[in-house]
Symmetry: C2
Subunit: 368 residues, 2 copies
Amino acid sequence: MRDEEERAERSVNRARQSSRPTGGSEFDFINLIRQQALKHQRKKTSSLIAHPSSLIHGIGDDAAVFEQRRGLDTVITTDLLVEEVDFRLRTTLPALLGHKALAVSLSDIAAMGARPRWALLSVGVPALIWQSNFLDEFYRGFFTLARRFRVSLIGGDVSRTPERVVIDSIVLGETLHGRAVLRATARPGDHIFVTGSLGGSYLGLKLLEGRKKPGRSLHGDVEPLMARLIKRHRRPEPRVLWGSVLGEERLASAMIDISDGLSSDLSHLCRESGVGARLDAARIPVDKTALRLSKFLPLDPLAAALHGGEDFELLFTVRPRNLARLPRRINGVAATYIGDVTGEPEKIVIREGARFRPLPRGGFEHFA
Amino acid sequence: MRDEEERAERSVNRARQSSRPTGGSEFDFINLIRQQALKHQRKKTSSLIAHPSSLIHGIGDDAAVFEQRRGLDTVITTDLLVEEVDFRLRTTLPALLGHKALAVSLSDIAAMGARPRWALLSVGVPALIWQSNFLDEFYRGFFTLARRFRVSLIGGDVSRTPERVVIDSIVLGETLHGRAVLRATARPGDHIFVTGSLGGSYLGLKLLEGRKKPGRSLHGDVEPLMARLIKRHRRPEPRVLWGSVLGEERLASAMIDISDGLSSDLSHLCRESGVGARLDAARIPVDKTALRLSKFLPLDPLAAALHGGEDFELLFTVRPRNLARLPRRINGVAATYIGDVTGEPEKIVIREGARFRPLPRGGFEHFA
């Protein structure tokens, strides 16, 4: 065992000294944390994929170090994912869990208008999972997403657990000084936008849980539509580019990511800003797959779009003078105007046809 | 429930706007995370005790933000603590667990020669624990230690878990640029030092687990001695001031904290630096309480000092030219010269009387 461990650590040292920034080093990283947990050592793991500009030290030390640069702010978020509460192993592929653990934190960084740079990952797994290829697949999903956005894993911890998998995902990002976009800075008259589409993730979860069963005679298109919604839930796409553009170009006056659901998250933003909102139901970008599927299954796509969680889209406000500068799409993802900020604190209404009704926060129970 | 939650969040907003940096705000923080987890919302909690100099935004947003300053480096570490693996609730007071969760991460920051600044805390607890006063006590222990070292809690996450308590402690520190003290930079001829004393935590754990039972006729001093060792284990004291002085004054050429045990951690440092070490058993600062107790109980204090873990002392090396500048004590805690760095890679020997013997890494099994 000790020989194996030393071999793994030597190979990690080699990787650190090598000039290849990725590839083999990720493999070595996984080996290292495997060996560490086998021995249940508490010594830390650290990065192999460095941004050469400012990561000073990663692997094999008590902590990771990066250089501070004048004119920048650091943004940091942490997300705890617990088996049987935030995910179920029997319905979640390990690689998708690795993707999701990073995606939820990237979404938080995007919602601050920041650019993600570094990640740390604390992982606890029970012995049986440890002996499987779970962690290899988990890290594969994590690193695939990390590479896309040039995020470096610079540290982490690993532990055994008695029964459940637990993951804490930590992501650090950067903004120009003072450009972080808060929730508290929307003003009456601002326009409200949302990226992408809403409701798909919630309906995908319901399909995954088997709550929405198709009837007997199904149209041939139904299965692929269902698969698409399930994927939407399992593989959330954080709006990283939108977030950094909205922050860097000073386009968003306030922002939050949609993790609890549009009604809840808009309510958070309004409360923090001391404002209200008036939405237009006809403008909500309801998931198109859900709309098509609702012809065959008893779904309510608009209710899912208003109250379903985990879409990980960005909800943001724009001052009227900045509207002309707002991109319509970034990398194929649109931002849709859905309503306006009003001066009545925390009063949120939605127009359906000719009438306005209050939009209850997290009111999903009333609609499902 | 919603009214309660809104009240809690309003009180937190008030705390944020108030000029009092501590006190009531910690209470509000605890209220906030309580309410959050009751609703199982995934929205983030954030700081109330700000370093006014550079924390830009804490509570009530997707992430925390702090300003980067030229000439500084950020140091970050994460420690995952899992119930039944890293601690047991039946032998751990919640306040001491809060203390320990922060202490282990502060120790990592100290071992980098850095000054701790910010903390984030992800906590998962089962419903029964949630309903108890566990979290109040846990955060009380956490904040008491945080205040001592002026560390601000700037964020975190909270989740329910099916059975076990799980804690991920994240601490960020700062050093002057380039002053972080790594493990890899010891050189032959450097002197080896350790802060405080060794072996007490390990023996305290054994006493706690009931493995070292006192015999029938006990000297009256034995009980208080046992209590002191148990406290040493339960309430580790991170060497925060030593760490930042050794880093800022450029006194340590390499450093690591003793979490696995002197033999293991010295071995990590030697391997990273490509050096060996020669220790002198007579110089090891064995815990004095353990020495006194060993007159009554079958303990081996030297073996515990060499191989027992969780003392959270700092092990560091000093170039000969810097020896004169090294403080003997900081805040009453001594640093003791225990041996020298040698040029034989990874060969670690210890002198006992006239003879040298190899010091096996983590060789506790052979001694206990």
